[in-house]
Assembly symmetry: C2
DNA sequence: CTGGTTTATTGCGCCAGCGCAAAGATGCCC
DNA sequence: GGGCATCTTTGCGCTGGCGCAATAAACCAG
């Protein structure tokens, strides 16, 4: 039965880990499912923070856009992860957008439902604390990289991080499993697509990476790590 | 009685807001007090995340330092705010350091005590969620600024933010109440002290700011806001 | 297969901001 | 009040990486 599978899946997410089975069943009953196609907007920047999602399948991108249209990618999220922190933390509106990169399958709850859940079950609130703590840590590190490192190192770090969280071993090396353009890498590394393109070309020359249209494969991780760590 | 005053103070912090008085009393009894002089290290990067503090008086700086000694300032914190998130979120070690900028007076708890408190009182866990959510929001915005804005705008944003959270109205304008060097501003804006110095000199010329040794006063906030918002 | 769209590459010139270095200002401690 | 440490200013030259622009390659739809 599908619901049963759902319950097991929920029990493995960062949000509901450790919850007793009967609670998971309640949670599952309160949820709704939703599918999105690649490119769809799941959460819109500025909209009321009324929904929280967990990713069942597919890959999403959290971004933040300025008034003048400049965009940065805050992070990518995959199966088991949470989209819509603002709704957890009691924010009024979403500070950024979440876009489907692949075709995606999500499970969602209303903000009020989740907040009530947290109020009734401290364990879930603590899961949220851990999850936000982990995100805060990640983003601190990126802030430091952005402030102190030169572009090449930043791009290297960005790719290594993506390979870590969404890499698949292949004969050619570690392939990032979702489509990732030069522009995307630029928006994660705080640079321009031109500089990313030039950098990747140079690396390709040296056999460190292999890339195609919206594809990146890390052929020689140790060399890329060396670049990421070498001082300016 | 001093304890009574403490309890009231705790009830107004972001961490314990909304807790019933008798719980606050328990919390207060479990706490220890500690004083630090300007320049002292309160939490050391890499140390076991075993303590959480609330600032009673004074001002602190949260930083993160790289292996090669480069430093960024994550944020400043003042009265009522929490130092040592890692201990709340169940992290192993502190990802950054916290340093006293002024002479400071703090109240602290062991990580285990606070975690037990969260587990027993969902309201407190929810306060932590809100607090981490707010920090995450702040840092997202800074990440975007750092990625997309030119230095002058970034410095303007940095100063405006500091004026917002630690500004005092005076005849000369809004004064940032704690000592703040050019180097500090550089480490918050992702630039060098030289560029900060040059920029502030130019602004001083135009009467937008007035500054001295480790002092910054925003004389004409609207003009500074204009700089912060003007497109590149 | 064709035409159109999106994505990637690369040459070229320029300039914002860095890094160095040296001098100057300010505050503190004895 | 004098000496010292810390902090700030400013000139100068250089360069990393941006921005533009034009071309090329890959993909898609019909």
């Amino acid at each position: 039965m599908e619901d049963q599978a759902d319950v097991e899946m929920l029990g493995r997410t960062e949000l509901f880990r450790g919850a007793p089975v009967d609670l998971l069943r309640d949670i599952q009953r309160a949820a709704f499912r939703k599918r999105f196609s690649a490119g769809d907007t799941v959460l819109q920047q500025g909209d009321a923070a009324a929904t929280v999602y967990i990713v069942v399948a597919g890959r999403l991108r959290a971004t933040q856009t300025t008034l003048d249209g400049q965009q940065v990618i805050i992070r990518y999220l995959g199966p088991g992860e949470v989209a819509g922190y603002a709704a957890l933390a009691g924010g009024e509106t979403f500070p950024g957008a979440v876009i489907a990169v692949d075709d995606c399958h999500l499970i969602g709850w209303s903000a009020t439902a989740i907040q009530e859940l947290m109020a009734r079950h401290a364990g879930i609130a603590i899961n949220v604390v851990k999850l936000l703590g982990a995100r805060y840590l990640d983003i601190q590190v990126r802030l430091r990289e952005l402030s102190t490192e030169k572009v090449e190192r930043r791009i290297a770090h960005t790719i290594l991080r993506l390979a870590q969280q969404a890499g698949r071993r292949t004969v050619r090396g570690i392939e990032i499993v979702f489509p990732l353009s030069r522009q995307d890498l630029a928006e994660m590394s705080g640079t321009t697509l031109h500089t990313v393109s030039r950098t990747l070309s140079a690396w390709e020359e040296r056999g460190i990476v292999a890339c195609g249209r919206r594809r990146v494969v890390v052929a020689k991780p140790p060399l890329l790590e060396a670049i990421a760590e070498e001082p300016d």
